[in-house]
Subunit: 193 residues, 2 copies
DNA sequence: TATAATATATTACGATCATCATATTATAAA
DNA sequence: TTTATAATATGATGATCGTAATATATTATA
């Protein structure tokens, strides 16, 4: 009676591809600068089918943010597990404030790229963003073995340094922002009460 | 022979009003979300005359950034001069990471609001932005009596804390981001080498 | 193979954008 | 008061956006 015209799970897979495409595009070009047709093309589709997957662009923004931040936490966890010599939090700080992470925004943390725009987004999007940021701060605090208050200051330093390092034109200033951010972040972990 | 139909300095005054209108609008709503007609309306004009003042929107963005950051440095200088009891840098940190500054973006520092978008702007805009950020870091370093490297870490912490505090939905987390940012920024000034 | 149902593509709509061409207004000088 | 011209307004253009309606393509089942 009931026929299933496409393979089971097909739509979910396509939907995930759209979210992945959006997450990558948003990190590179912001939210407002990325159009629905562009996102759909990135997922190998045309724009028409978009609204059979999402109610509107805002809903996709929320899902893409959740996906991107979860993805970054998982990546940082992997980075922390890789090296055993320095404290794991040092490895994560070094990665987060590396030239590689600065220069490859499409694969990197979404927070420095989008926090400004998120402040002006819908409550739905901010709700998701808040929850994921809480998870990120918990992850960082746990890794550094500090409380959440200190952890939020640590992560703020990391985000601020990366944000500014990406915004400037001068390679030397950008390098200074990264390295001084690294140094202070590490000292913050052990020095401050 | 040569007649001057409008009062001397009239056009410059109007041009400045456009830049002020843009600076305020960009801080509140970002660059891409603010249209030329909207900016012109904010200056009491219609959109048509825009291109007799500026070659394009990008040029206005650069000028508005320069204006806004200079304006903020001047404001912070005033804040520093107001109170004499605590070290001036503490007064500035307290102001920068206050709920008032977080909640009144249209009058506040442009850097947390726009750094993400600036990363994806033209070289012309990034050039101006870089120069003004250098001035800001010099101002902060001088006020805190620390070197520019440490000053850039300090300012990164301030920017990161304010950016994240503005992006989240939860008042408690936002307050934590502000207060822990304040605390560690102050400790950074005196503690770290 | 034919059918039914669903996923995707094509096309269209109204809005808004940056930009530009042209018309109108305002005012200093004659 | 008239005139010349700079400053501003009006209106238009082509592009692109988010969104929706409709047509086509796809494939598990009968």
């Amino acid at each position: 009676m009931i026929t299933i015209p496409y393979p089971k799970g097909h739509k979910i897979k396509v939907r995930n591809k759209i979210v992945e495409s959006a997450a990558q595009a948003f990190r590179t070009n912001g939210i407002q600068d990325v159009s629905v047709p562009f996102i759909m093309k990135g997922a190998g589709l045309t724009h028409g089918g978009f609204y059979s997957h999402f109610n509107n662009k805002e809903q996709l923004v929320a899902e893409a943010c959740r996906y991107a931040i979860s993805d970054t936490i998982a990546l940082l966890q992997k980075v922390a597990d890789e090296e055993n010599h320095p404290p794991p939090i040092h490895t994560v700080i070094d990665y987060y404030l590396s030239p590689y992470h600065r220069d490859n925004t499409e694969m990197g943390c979404i927070l420095p790229a989008l926090s400004g725009e998120i402040s002006r987004s819908s409550e739905e999007v901010r709700q998701v963003y808040t929850h994921e940021l809480e998870r990120m701060i918990a992850f960082i605090s746990n890794l550094a073995e500090i409380d959440a208050s200190k952890g939020s200051a640590l992560f703020s330093t990391m985000v601020g340094s990366l944000t500014l390092a990406r915004s400037v034109n001068d390679p030397e200033l950008s390098a200074t922002l990264l390295s001084s951010g690294k140094q202070y972040a590490k000292e913050l972990v052990k020095t401050l009460t």
